[in-house]
Each structure stands twice: as C-alpha cells, then as structure tokens.
C-alpha cells in the first residue's frame, strides 16, 4: 500500500483538534498515557506542563500521583523510585533543573528504568537566561537517555506518547527524553490533532509492563522491580569485575532503540496518519542536494521554508532534521549525505574549546562516507536569539561561495550566525 492510499485507523475526522501550546500538548499527552507517578518541579519555560498537569489531577481526570517535589534532583530521584516499583513515571524540566538532575539521569539509565522526561530546552546559566537553546540538552547527551527532538507542537504531543512505548519496549528498557524548544514551542499555540484516550491506552498496551530478569536464587524469571513476592536488590555496588559488563548492554540496547523508534514511527503513522521521516531523521529535499543543512528542533521549520525558496530559484539545497539525537542516526546520515558536497551543521549550543556537539556527531558519521563533503559548524540562537529566514538566507549565500571555492579553512569552520561584533 503506498503512503497516499493508507487510511489510518484514526483519520483526522476521528481525532479531536485542540488549540494548545507545546507545554499543554505534552501535559495532555501524559494525561492520556496512563502515567502512575509525575514528580516535577517548576522552571520556566517548562512550568506550564506542571501547572496543567496539576489541574488534571485536581479535577480528578487522572489516577496519577502527582509529587510536588522540592527540587529537580528529587523529581528524577522519585521517578527512579516509582519506575523501580513498576510504575509508569514522568517528569519535565529545563536548563538549571536539568543540570541539577544530571547525577540521577545517569542512574535512571544505568538501572535500566523506563520513564519519560520532557525537556523544554533553555540556555544554561551564566548569564542566567530563560530562553531557548540546546545547551541543556547537550549536557545530558552521554547520560544514556533516548533523546527525541520535536519540531512543532503536534510532534511534541505525538512524540511524548511514542516515547513511553519506545522506552518500555522489552529490547530497549531505557529512559527517554522529549525535547521542545522553550517559548518557540512551549508557549506557542497550535491547532493539533489528538487521539481518543482509549486509542492511546491501546497504543501503549495499557499500564506499564514490567520486564523480566533472571537471578540465581529463583528458578523462574522474575519482575525487574521492587516486588515483595520475588525480592531483588536494585542499585548494587559493582566494581571493576562487573561494572563494564553492566554498562555495555546499555550501549547495545541503545542500538536496538534505533529500530524501535522507526517501528513506533510507522505504527503511529498507521494509527494517526502522521509520521516524521523514518523516526530518526526527517529529510527534506536532500536526495539531490549539493548543500545540506542539518538542524534539530523548531529551527527546522524556518530552514525548510528558506530551502523551498532556494529550490524555486534552482539552488540544490536540502534540510536534514535530526529527530533522534540519541541514538544518533549515523547510518542514515551516511546514506542520505552520500551525494552532498557541503554540509552545514546548525548547533544551538557551544562546547568551548571544541565544535558544537551536533557537529561532532555528524563529523563522526561523515568520516565513513565516500563523498566526504565539506563540513562547517554554524552556532546560532544562543540564549533564545531568534533565527530569522534572512539569517538562513545569509548562511546559504555564504555556503554557495564556499562551495564554489571548494574548501573551508580550519579557522573558518566554526561560525556564529546572528551574533553582533
């Protein structure tokens, strides 16, 4: 069946359109996802998620236990406790809150506990700032979480529900974060299509299913959970004789997550008629492009509109939006960029003394591509600085000159877009 012919199980007329911002969309998705425990602490621009969710609880619209913790460190800690008890757990944060959580982020993934965290991306202090960039997300890139970036409010809703499914998949069993750009998405109203509650319930297979493990003192497989019927110790001390063997499977499960993200993307398509590329990457006019721009999050929308304009002028430019930052889609990048001559990575975060994190990952992929396109890093949008279509045009114009020249010197490979002076 070709894509055009597919009739989703819930075509648009069977979905409900609601007018919400990104935070509200996530809160609504969580309400529909049969979440047992939400432990959260307010921080701009994530606050609306917590407020909206508190309303659902206050109105008795969900069975969820809402734990209004005294810090983000405790929010993530409580989620670890809840998930270890077999519950479906959720929390949300931004920036400083995420920084405070980091210690426990590594523990959640190391203990193989499925859960979902919404990160409303915001610049890290100092200077203190409340607006969007991806420096907070870059902070957690090695924490062992699946990290999915949404481009718009609809995708924020869709991805939040998907994230539970991906995270809880028996082959994955890793925590997952859903990223939306602060204010650009969190506070921007959009009409989105939502599924009926029971459709989400069925999609997730009802309440969370607990994975099974084998321990030598029970004959049968037992729940990987704090279960008085079959007691386990979770969070033991593992030293040089075992630590390594416990960490490697985390890496392998992250690889399996690539397939699961793709499957869930397809399944969602059959259910709702919506999908996002192959789930990992969302390419736009990349196939024959000489110049490919790589971006994550809401900026992809701006870039796409400019790409369209240049295509009309006959310029062979394309956009590759990374949806899954972890696991990083190395394979797709190599395949999709095999014919490109110049690749510009847009990094909404810095790594002083180094290129931006996204650039490094793309460079790692491209090292193995036959074509070896010229690679350049554009750092943009720090602290919420707007990315205007004009800036993207300026960037493409410069890239065209680089392409003509045929090389970029090392000292020109890290560029700042939209900064004064």
């Amino acid at each position: 069946m070709s894509e055009l012919e597919l009739v989703p199980k819930y075509p648009r007329e069977k979905q409900t359109m609601i007018n919400v911002n990104g935070d509200e969309a996530i809160a609504y998705a969580v309400k529909q996802s049969y979440v047992d425990v939400v432990a959260a602490y307010p921080i701009t621009p994530q606050t609306i998620i917590v407020e909206k969710f508190s309303e659902f609880v206050a109105n008795g619209e969900t069975h969820t236990e809402f734990v209004a913790v005294e810090s983000e460190h405790s929010a993530m800690s409580a989620c670890v406790g809840a998930a270890a008890s077999g519950a479906r757990a959720f929390t949300a944060t931004s920036s400083q809150g995420l920084a405070l959580m980091v210690e426990v982020l590594y523990i959640a993934s190391g203990l193989r506990l499925p859960m979902v965290l919404a990160v409303v991306n915001r610049a890290l202090s100092a200077p203190i700032n409340i607006h969007n960039d991806h420096s907070d997300a870059y902070l957690m890139r090695d924490a062992g979480w699946i990290m999915l970036f949404a481009e718009n409010v609809q995708e924020a809703y869709d991805t939040t529900i998907q994230a539970f499914k991906i995270s809880e998949h028996p082959d994955v069993q890793l925590p997952a974060s859903v990223h939306i750009d602060g204010f650009f998405l969190s506070h921007t109203l959009e009409n989105i299509y939502t599924l009926p509650d029971e459709a989400v319930y069925d999609f997730l297979g009802g309440p969370r299913k607990i994975a099974k493990v084998r321990v030598d003192y029970f004959d049968e497989e037992v729940n990987y959970a704090l279960d008085p019927a079959r007691p386990l110790s979770i969070g033991n001390l593992a030293l040089y004789d075992y630590y390594f063997e416990i960490k490697v499977p985390q890496v392998l499960s992250m690889r399996k997550a690539e397939e699961v993200i793709k499957e869930v993307n397809e399944e969602w398509y059959k259910l709702t008629g919506r999908k996002y590329g192959n789930g990992l990457v969302d390419p736009f006019m990349v196939e024959d492009a000489d110049i490919v721009i790589i971006a994550m999050g809401s900026s992809a929308g701006t870039v796409r509109s400019v790409v369209k304009k240049y295509r009309e002028k006959g310029v062979k430019v394309g956009l590759l939006r990374i949806r899954s930052f972890r696991p990083f889609p190395h394979k797709d990048i190599v395949e999709l960029l095999s014919g490109s001559k110049l690749v510009a990575v847009m990094d909404k975060g810095i790594g002083p003394g180094q290129y931006g994190a996204l650039y490094l990952d793309v460079a790692a992929s491209l090292y193995h591509s036959k074509s070896k396109p010229i690679l350049v890093d554009y750092v943009y949008g720090l602290g919420g600085r707007d990315l205007s279509p004009e800036m993207v045009e300026q960037m493409i114009n410069n890239l065209l000159k680089d392409l003509e020249k045929g090389y970029i010197l090392e000292e020109e490979r890290l560029r700042f877009l939209g900064v004064r002076g």
């Binding site: 047992d36 670890v80 270890a84 519950a87 426990v104 008085p228």
Partner: protein, 352 residues
C-alpha cells in the same frame, strides 16, 4: 590456610537459619512483634542476611536486623550511599532478603517518596498485589543531616507514608571518617583532626531528631541497638503511623570511633547512661515522652553517668582525657546537662 567452620545455628523448629522474605500476592497476615528471645530465634529471620562485609563490631547491621524484626509485612527498603549500602550489596551478591534499592547519596527520601507514590497509584487502579506495602529508608548521618537533608525535609513536608531510619555513626565512614553535621563537638575525624591549635570538631551535633519534630510529622523517636526492645517497638510504631516517621538510631562504628570491636553495644549503652543520647519518642498527640533507660534515669537521677564514661572508651576523644583538656570535657558535660534538662522540661512523663 585456616578453615573455619561456621557455628551450627540451632533452630529447633520453624524457620530455617536464613531465608529470603517472600510474600506471595494477596497474603494478608501481619507479622506479630516478638519480644521473647526463644520465640524470636525460632520464628523470625532478619532481613539482612549473613555474608555482608560491614566491619566486625559495626552496629549498623544490628540496627537493620532489629528494625526488620518489627516489619509487619511486605516491605521495600531504600538505602542511601554509605557504609551500609556498599558493604551489603557488592554485585553480584546481596545481603538483603527483601526488595531493596539504592539510588544515590542524597536522595533516599526522594526515592522513597516515588516508591510510595507508585504504591498509591497501583492501589488506586487495583494493580497492587497486597493490601499494603511499607517503605523503610536506612541512611547514614551524612545522607541525612547534610547532603540528604533537603530531600528528607521535602518528604516529611509532603507527608509520604515512609519510615526513615537514620543510623548515625557520627561521621562519613564510607569515605574514611570525615566530619558530618552529626559529629559531636571535639571528636577527632580526618577532616576535623586534633591539631596543635584545634582540638577536633569545633561545632556541636545538629539536633536532627528535634528538627524532624519541628516538621510535625506523625512520629519521631531516638533509639539504639543496645536498647533493643525499645528500638523494635519504635520501628513498629513508625511503620504503623499514617505518614512520615523518623527514627534516629545511634550506631557505633569501631573504625571511626576508635573503640574495641567487642564493645560496640556497650558504647551505645554508655551514650544513653550519660544522657549524651537520651531515648525518647514524640508524636503530635503525646509530645515528648522519655523511654526505656532514659525514663529510668529521669526518675532516678543518681543513675546518670558523667560524660567521661562515654568518652573514655573511644579513641576519637582520647585527646580530651589529657589533663590540659579538662576544660573541654567540662564544656561537653555542660552541653549534655543543658540538653538533658531541656528534654526533661519537655517530656511529659519526666518527674516534676
């Protein structure tokens, strides 16, 4: 190599010497409190199994075992990073006979909050396999007075139904005897060394149990494993109340306190006999009540021992016994007397 055989533990009837605690789904029986030693030996097994690697003479496992005699049914245990955690769960082994989790150093109370919330959500939706599951935390003084205090205070304020047991060995022992907010004044530790100018820790112990009373949670108590019946009773009360409960158990550490392994329990007895560590309980309904030996001392003040009795058996206070430090001991005595008198005023069962 010397091959030592473990002593045969005589269990005449009932339970095997050691066992994993299993509560089959739907099981309803509530475990009774047992104070008859013979019955206890026959019918009950501690939740901490042998083979753990805490030092010989450490009081912390005694605290845990005694506390577990007071567990009433399905129970989940949370432990903060520290000696107890690292020494009882060296992968691939564990000494815990019931479901146990360790998250990090400062977040045992937050982890317990999440577990309790999960239990509530499961119960609400008919997915809890038992009528009730109790949550008990064991955390050291570092994980309680200092780095973990915020999480503890938050848990208390939010009213989670969790019993938090502090095993207080008065320093960061796991990292090698550093001072904590629970280290007493003038005690030697590796970060409050006894130097030519400074005679050990300069500050007094933080009154952690009183701070928990100030949270006005349903139950707060102090205990030591030297007063075992008192401890067991208090743990059961802490589990039975609806909402947070806090038990401050003093726990001698022969490594850090620098005493003979064989006198761990005796040191704790002296802590109570000198009124350095009085035994009491508090609830919003009863206020402060002295218990066990401390009540006896209140009724018969001549039983109160001088502070030297507590200091003299511990190397961490050895410098205080030098003649030139008499003044410091006097100060400590005055501090103990003042806090004891203050408690006598507050305790409604103290003789007037």
């Amino acid at each position: 190599m010397v091959v030592k055989t473990l002593p045969e533990i005589q269990v005449k009837k009932g339970e095997p010497p050691y066992k994993i605690w299993i509560f089959e789904p739907g099981e309803k029986k509530e475990l009774p409190l047992i104070f008859n030693l013979r019955q206890l030996a026959e019918q009950r097994r501690p939740a901490l199994l042998p083979g753990h690697r805490m030092c010989a003479g450490c009081a912390a496992p005694i605290v845990v075992k005694l506390a577990s005699f007071a567990f009433r049914g399905p129970t989940i245990v949370v432990t903060a990073t520290g000696c107890l955690e690292v020494s009882t769960t060296i992968y691939p082994y564990t000494s815990w006979a019931l479901p146990w989790i360790h998250n990090a150093f400062e977040n045992a109370a937050a982890t317990a909050s999440g577990i309790e919330a999960a239990i509530k959500a499961m119960k609400k939706t008919g997915r809890l396999k038992y009528e009730n599951v109790d949550v008990v935390v064991f955390a050291g003084d570092g994980g309680t007075y200092d780095i973990g205090f915020q999480a503890l205070s938050g848990m208390a304020e939010r009213g989670h139904d969790v019993l938090y047991i502090l095993y207080d060995n008065e320093a960061y022992m796991n990292t090698g005897i550093q001072r904590s907010g629970g280290t007493p004044k003038y005690a030697w530790t590796t970060t409050s060394p006894v130097g030519r100018v400074i005679p050990g820790k300069s500050e007094n112990k933080k009154p952690i149990a009183d701070i928990m009373v100030a949270h006005r949670i349903p139950y707060v108590a102090t205990a030591t494993p030297a007063h075992w019946m008192d401890l067991v009773k208090k743990v059961r009360k802490g589990i039975e109340v609806n909402g947070p409960a806090f038990i401050h158990a003093l726990s001698s550490c022969d490594r850090g306190w620098r005493h003979e392994e064989s006198i761990s329990v005796e040191v704790l007895r002296r802590a109570v006999d000198t009124c350095y560590f009085p035994l009491w309980e508090w609830s919003p309904e009863t206020g402060y009540l002295l218990t066990d030996r401390s009540l006896v001392i209140a009724r018969n003040p001549s039983l109160k021992q001088p502070i030297e009795k507590f200091l003299e058996v511990q190397g961490r206070f050895r410098h205080l016994l030098r003649p030139e430090n008499k003044e410091l001991v006097k100060q400590l005595q005055e501090y103990v007397d003042a806090t004891w008198n203050d408690l006598l005023k507050r305790a409604s069962n103290a003789p007037r």
